[in-house]
Symmetry: C2
Subunit: 483 residues, 2 copies
């Protein structure tokens, strides 16, 4: 039973989808919590009860464990772990990237994964570290692609995940994405990104992920391998990632860290558990700090809020408010803000993927000027037919003598009356004008002037804005409407 | 037993405090959930279990209810409601503002409130609506102050709340604050603000509250009467409000609305309950929509997340990260962003109230340039002694020939090496420089140049920044450090 992936809704480059594997369904974007049989902090059945449709575990651990190898082969993973949802298995590639070598071949891990009944099999790919030079990244990628081809021969494409590597090089990532999509594989993890996230190198993460996405077929389910901190999930989804795994909930718990939607805090520095989850409501901070099962309780809180963050992201896509959630989460850390700004730098391209109409456009600060909806409006302006004397009025007053009258709403810019009620003009809420949004609106006027060289543009602006408007629109006639 | 209020910690103008009334303690900032005996959606005991130390109810309802008047007088409020925390009672002033008149006098309500054992008594003040002209606001204020004076005679100052009115006029609000503080009253509700909040007039709300706060003694506990939507609590606390009441949790539930930290959503438009609270975890969105107790369940969720929001705010004050929380919440709605920008406009004054050292300064966008810490640094710069040839280096390189060497970190601006490790220079995290923060840092250089007319300033900046720096610093010598 092949992996099937169906897209239901989109927002920016993010997607709401349905992943079907072996008759089981996962609603994406989805978190696959990592289950380590050696450290069973939270039983898989409880993870399912918390709202996870799928988990990921490491086949290499089962394959090399005297304790677990036999039972896994005899009972199968689902029975052994007590989980009837989707189980994905990693190959040992993670251990290989940490220890340099593993005692398993590509063929062995794939055959073992199949024998224990894994729903999604991963070949033994090579994760190139960010600091690796181009030659190494090329060679690793070539080996990874060879192993994926071998994996197709061994296990077919039906249940195979094909990791996309390429280190820090966007062109290699794009090439890798094209190569795996060319093999007809529906499930594509973007690998080797954990070091970027651990070092808060979100700007590079954005470049690498967007490059991989350019190569991968839009019909494929994209897994961001090793990503699971709630603060970056919204951004990752907005880039078009559908599945996350990460052991963050457990790793942070081991370090005594309490996750929030925007970061983490050392439990010892907390005075109040400001979270409505069951774990936090049933006890005080002191009870939690002194509980002998503190690590398990922390892991339960961490997992609960990560699963809730995925639900918030899915709701945001349904509503068409994903930009708001991304903007919110990315301001949680300056390095994430940097990644967000890098992402906004691609908004002109992302516009082609974004949906046409949304519930609303809420202005949340200067960054909102660079949203896809603004680019789309500017693109539309180039296609609107205007000629002769064109008025752009900031005040809404319309003096006689113009062939075309356009109104003005920043950060979008000029718009004809017939667009006043449509998205985004009619559904956008902005605070009193600020310089950044007015300048961006002027860029809309400029886009229009560029496309209509024969027309004569007059801008009638409110008092106080004339200098900014004149600076932004060197070729236009600017008048000030007296109050 | 008089109301006592003790301040434990501060952040911006927000305070962590301990309010003691009748031997009972409330940790502020605190929410006093509104309990209406006619609509007991959530029993007071359960409200207490959710984490509220205090509630507010309306004495007028008890005084005029055939069903409740007798039992309230016989058993007292605490026994009747089954709540052993602090109970504050409103006077009937709210009904008066809605219906124009009430069947109770100031004396009657105060004596009744005392008879039923209220912990905090409110006189029959007059809430001036925002649209009321100055004359009406003055006259209402004068009546309110008379009634407070009468209340002092009737009930003493020990358990008395003295409402601060004044309509939309900042000078009247400040005068009112001074007047009630002059009477030695420790508990001051800022009244008549609900219409501002209902109409999203957050900019005016900020002006009115800050004006009242300028008048009220800093030692008094300040209650923002009728405020309780989680999205605006952080901003209100940052202005120096300590207590909130509001029936928002119940009113929104009645309208089928589901509260979040940044707004509310119609339950019917929700597909997933993206919240870890018990109410949401125990059922699906469909179960909740179809539950015969849907209103109660919604109220329970709404109250739970509002109480958690207060806990988050208290934690933020302890950490010294309240600016981050305010910035986060205020971007949730463009009108709240407008209120936030109005608040930032007062940051130079707020600086005097803010604490000296915090855990960190995270840059969250252009608005962060106007934080109190930036003003404080600029004020400090005026006091640093420099003379002769002063170098401000953006790159860290120090050529010979200067009497004073200063480094540069936006948005703060120049700093001497000995401040490199202290707050905020050493504990601030910023993304790659943007124009807004560099311009703000230049304002720091300018502040320094203003204070040291005899010195000659040379700014050595990174390539690409020279035009901005020259524009911001007309009097300085600007050099570019080649890469």
């Amino acid at each position: 039973m092949a992996i099937r992936f169906e897209l239901l809704e989109k927002d920016i480059a993010g997607r709401l989808g349905r992943l079907q594997v072996g008759g089981k369904t996962v609603h994406t974007p989805a978190l696959f919590p990592v289950v380590n049989p050696h450290l069973p902090l939270i039983p898989a059945a409880e993870i399912q009860a918390l709202g996870a449709d799928a988990i990921i575990t490491n086949a290499y651990i089962f394959a090399t464990s005297e304790r677990f190898r036999g039972p896994a082969l005899e009972q199968g993973l689902h029975r052994l772990l007590g989980f009837d949802g989707v189980i994905m298995t990693d190959s040992g590639a993670f251990q290989q990237s940490v220890y340099g070598d593993v005692e398993i071949t590509n063929r062995e891990t794939l055959e073992f994964q199949r024998s224990i009944g894994s729903d999604i099999l991963v070949p033994l790919d090579i994760a190139t570290p960010p600091q690796a030079p181009r030659k190494a990244a090329e060679s690793d990628l070539s080996t990874t692609l060879e192993r994926i081809r071998e994996a197709v021969e061994i296990a077919g494409t039906d249940n195979l995940a094909a990791p996309v590597q390429g280190g820090r090089f966007p062109d290699l990532r794009e090439e890798a994405g094209k190569a795996v999509s060319g093999m007809g594989i529906t499930f594509c993890p973007i690998g080797g990104v954990v070091p970027f996230m651990e070092a808060y190198r979100y700007r590079e993460l954005v470049e690498v992920v967007l490059a991989a996405k350019r190569g991968i077929s839009p019909a494929a389910c994209v897994h961001l391998f090793g990503a699971g901190h709630p603060s970056m999930l919204a951004l990752a989804v907005a880039m078009g990632c559908d599945v996350f795994d990460s052991a963050a909930y457990a790793l942070f718990a081991r370090e005594g860290r309490y996750l929030t939607a925007s970061g983490s805090i050392k439990l010892d520095e907390i005075t109040e558990l400001a979270c409505p989850c069951e774990t936090c409501r049933r006890r005080s901070d002191e009870d939690l700090k002194e509980d002998p099962h503190r690590e398990t309780l922390l892991a339960r809180h961490n997992l609960a809020i990560t699963i809730i963050e995925m639900a918030k992201i899915r709701e945001a896509i349904r509503e068409g408010t994903l930009w708001e959630l991304v903007d919110d989460r990315c301001r949680g850390h300056p390095r994430l803000l940097d990644g967000y700004r890098a992402f906004l730098g691609h908004a002109e391209d992302l516009e082609a993927m974004d949906r046409a109409s949304k519930q609303r456009f809420f202005y949340r600060g200067g960054e909102s000027c660079l949203r896809t909806e603004v680019y789309r409006h500017h693109r539309l302006l180039r296609r609107i037919q205007v000629s002769g004397r064109v008025l752009v009025t900031f005040t809404g007053k319309v003096p006689p003598g113009y062939d075309t009258v356009l109104f003005f709403k920043p950060p979008f810019g000029p718009f004809p009356a017939e667009l006043a009620e449509t998205f985004p003009i009619g559904q956008s809420e902005i605070p009193p004008w600020d310089r950044e949004m007015v300048a961006r609106g002027c860029a809309g006027i400029l886009a229009m002037m560029d496309g209509h060289a024969g027309a004569h543009f007059t801008v009638v602006c409110k008092p106080g804005w004339e200098n900014l408007v004149k600076r932004e629109l060197p070729g236009a006639e600017v008048q000030v409407e007296p109050l």
